[in-house]
Symmetry: C3
Subunit: 362 residues, 3 copies
Amino acid sequence: MSDSIKRGRTVQSIANAVQGTVHGDADVVVFALNRIEYARNGDLSFLSAASYTKFLGVTKASCVLVSKALEVAVPDGLTVVFVEDAYRAFVALMREFYPPLRIESGLRHATASVHPSATIHPSAAISAGCSIGEGCVVGEDVQLYPNVVLYPGCTVGAGTVIHANVSCLHGTVIGTNCLIHAGAVLGADGFGYIENADGSFDKVPQVGVVQIGNDVEIGANVTIDRAAVGATSICDRVKIDNLVHIAHNVTVGNDTAIAAQAGVSGSTRIGNRNRIAGQVGIVGHITTADDVIVEAQSGVSKTITSKGAYFGSPAKEHRTALRMEAALRQLPQLLTDVREMQQRIADLLANSEPNDESLTQP
Amino acid sequence: MSDSIKRGRTVQSIANAVQGTVHGDADVVVFALNRIEYARNGDLSFLSAASYTKFLGVTKASCVLVSKALEVAVPDGLTVVFVEDAYRAFVALMREFYPPLRIESGLRHATASVHPSATIHPSAAISAGCSIGEGCVVGEDVQLYPNVVLYPGCTVGAGTVIHANVSCLHGTVIGTNCLIHAGAVLGADGFGYIENADGSFDKVPQVGVVQIGNDVEIGANVTIDRAAVGATSICDRVKIDNLVHIAHNVTVGNDTAIAAQAGVSGSTRIGNRNRIAGQVGIVGHITTADDVIVEAQSGVSKTITSKGAYFGSPAKEHRTALRMEAALRQLPQLLTDVREMQQRIADLLANSEPNDESLTQP
Amino acid sequence: MSDSIKRGRTVQSIANAVQGTVHGDADVVVFALNRIEYARNGDLSFLSAASYTKFLGVTKASCVLVSKALEVAVPDGLTVVFVEDAYRAFVALMREFYPPLRIESGLRHATASVHPSATIHPSAAISAGCSIGEGCVVGEDVQLYPNVVLYPGCTVGAGTVIHANVSCLHGTVIGTNCLIHAGAVLGADGFGYIENADGSFDKVPQVGVVQIGNDVEIGANVTIDRAAVGATSICDRVKIDNLVHIAHNVTVGNDTAIAAQAGVSGSTRIGNRNRIAGQVGIVGHITTADDVIVEAQSGVSKTITSKGAYFGSPAKEHRTALRMEAALRQLPQLLTDVREMQQRIADLLANSEPNDESLTQP
């Protein structure tokens, strides 16, 4: 509670922060942020979509940020702040109202194990139970939460945060300002074998690494395998959701987002700005163009050379997939129709054609 | 072995425990429980399904619990105990024969790291390598296995067991008598971004929490994301299998079960007593009614308003999906039939209609 | 760099090692291995597929291993080594050039917690933050990376390597020379409940174990559940990729490979030498024959009794599935064709049949 009071801000100061115009009481104080439909007294909320305008008359929020373009009528007694983009303004305020959790700068917890050859920036925080291997380099303001394991030869760039129980295997390189969520595994061996004549396997050593660019976010319990030779590369500003699998030697292009439980097989190159939805599977050794969208549960089995939306398993262009899906829904009726037509044709033939048998057996 | 002997019990004492009637030698001693087809001398087994009656004559079990309703003929020399529901009786005995593993009550392992402001019940057990953050509350008889990480502000209710390498991020609330399996991650950031005009993303701070009800079981390596604002809620008695993904702001209703590798996207509300099978995907911002069954690998793309079974991707009512599946199997034949019909119609037309060309070119 | 120089070897010594014949300068020294298309000066590469022959003229590699059968023309100035199987020879050299990471033999890290009753071979390495429970047996040359948790009663066979943050629950048995990647969970409770009349669940105690054979590889963040009663068995030489789920009481036969994000439900028996592709789901209580191939994203819903390839959800024989897929692509056109035929038949009927109505209403 003392925390909330500390965070209290006047509507006027908020309007100043988001370049907005106050309509109502600029001295009202707000303490927390909340969705318009759940907001309570003391909350600041936002309205940026016309379909939510209905909540404006009933919200318990003390103040609502409203996108100018909506041209809403403000109910009596409600304080609003008109802004260019209410959602973006709300998100900017979220960062102020709820600054991210931080470990004390420079922490070296007594139960952490740091190899003497590792180079750790004085401002980096190493929590309880972390293991930092030989030759690791940990940059400025890096935050390692409990039980993070960096195998020998890892590099973690400035400003990167790694959450609890993450494992980075040897030689993993992580750029600056990345966010790696709990339980992720970077750099486990790729799934590579030579099949013997008797059906058993010989392991192909996986001697490459994982390279993560800058401003990358990687979800909880994600697995990104090291390359067989060379590098598995996650380029700049990529966002990967929980439980995604990225196989050896894959490249994921800049600004691509991959939703939960999707998987990309070995040596595939995903273009820039792709949007890969949940539970999608992408086979190995193919390429996707820039600006490709793959919809949920699809299976991409071939290289995609043009931007656009793809859907289905195997994935087709969105329009083709929709036509097939629509046709499929008509299929049971089609079967009935065709059986009927067969009967009619049989009748027609019986009527229109002479009976051959009677002719040949006079 | 000494362990097994210690567990030895007479058939009579077992019959008393399960309100059963002995047929055969009540003084026989059993030491372990096993399935009827694998049971050995000294084992107690059970028979509750007619299809397994064939094993009654060949089982090596020393005693078999049999559901009365089966009305089986007991082979000579076999001791059985007739009970109302042999499977439930067997399960009750499993709990007695194999009491769950427990850590020593009140353990505070030397390598655990507990913030001085945390409130830990004297009976709670904190194993090696655990990290308990600022302001955490850990209730009576809680059992934390090695390397569990509780970020600041977590609450763990009485009787809850959390297995190794689980990460609970800040503010996670877990109810009483829950069972959280190894490697689960509760409270990682939801996957929320604003897309910029150039295709890059700005992160939307995820400032909500995860709330787990009472008597909930959560599988190994499951991920349940914290809400953007507010709470992601797993209600009472929910059972979640391994590698399931629950996105931010989802609510899962009471007594729902979700099988392995299923995923639920953001802000969706799953009803009470749903049965979500393995590898199912459910899109965001929808609702399912109570008592909905979604079959394996289905993709639920729309709100489901009536109870019942759904199947397919996109998911349809079970009956509709079965008809489509059956129709699909007939499709190759249908293509052949239609091509034949086209030929017959062409023939009919040739026979029944005057030949236009011959008329116009005398 | 000193490392690379240390690894430098003459082409002649490499030819000797792989039983090859040098064509060109046998005194050339190579320092690293790389793919033919990415190789640089000082690299050794290989050519085993005709489709890559085009790179032979442009590669910057200092030497290329070439499969004899390709009968390539060697460009001027390039040194090659002709061998029986260039890929196998290259893989053998990978093991020499990049010996696997090893923890110091006999390490007992100060922050590891080992129960006094555990039996640890003197050569086994126990890293920081590991927990070894009561009665565990850890064999010769076993390597446990940081934060591995062995619950009471686990056995780890000689030569097995377990990576960071792996959890092995009580009674887990792992054979010799296995490789368990980071974050895997072996022996969590199976997903077993009795459903009550009100839709709530009673947990069925899961009192069995997990047994892993010899030479098994298990991917990052895999989950393999303990049996309800008896054992979940992963047989010898099985290879399991990341994020796979194996449910209670499953058996996976010798030499079977299971790709990422696939799942196998309870009590199913997978045969020997199966190849299960990514994101496949297999229902419970079924069996697959030996030498079965299941293609990506398929759903196996019934026992498979013959070897061969299967595809689709539900999975069908590959040939059947391909025919259905091909038919499906023709479906939208088929609908159009049928509607046309219906019109033609209507026309035919109008022409060929007397108009009943006109007859009855003279």
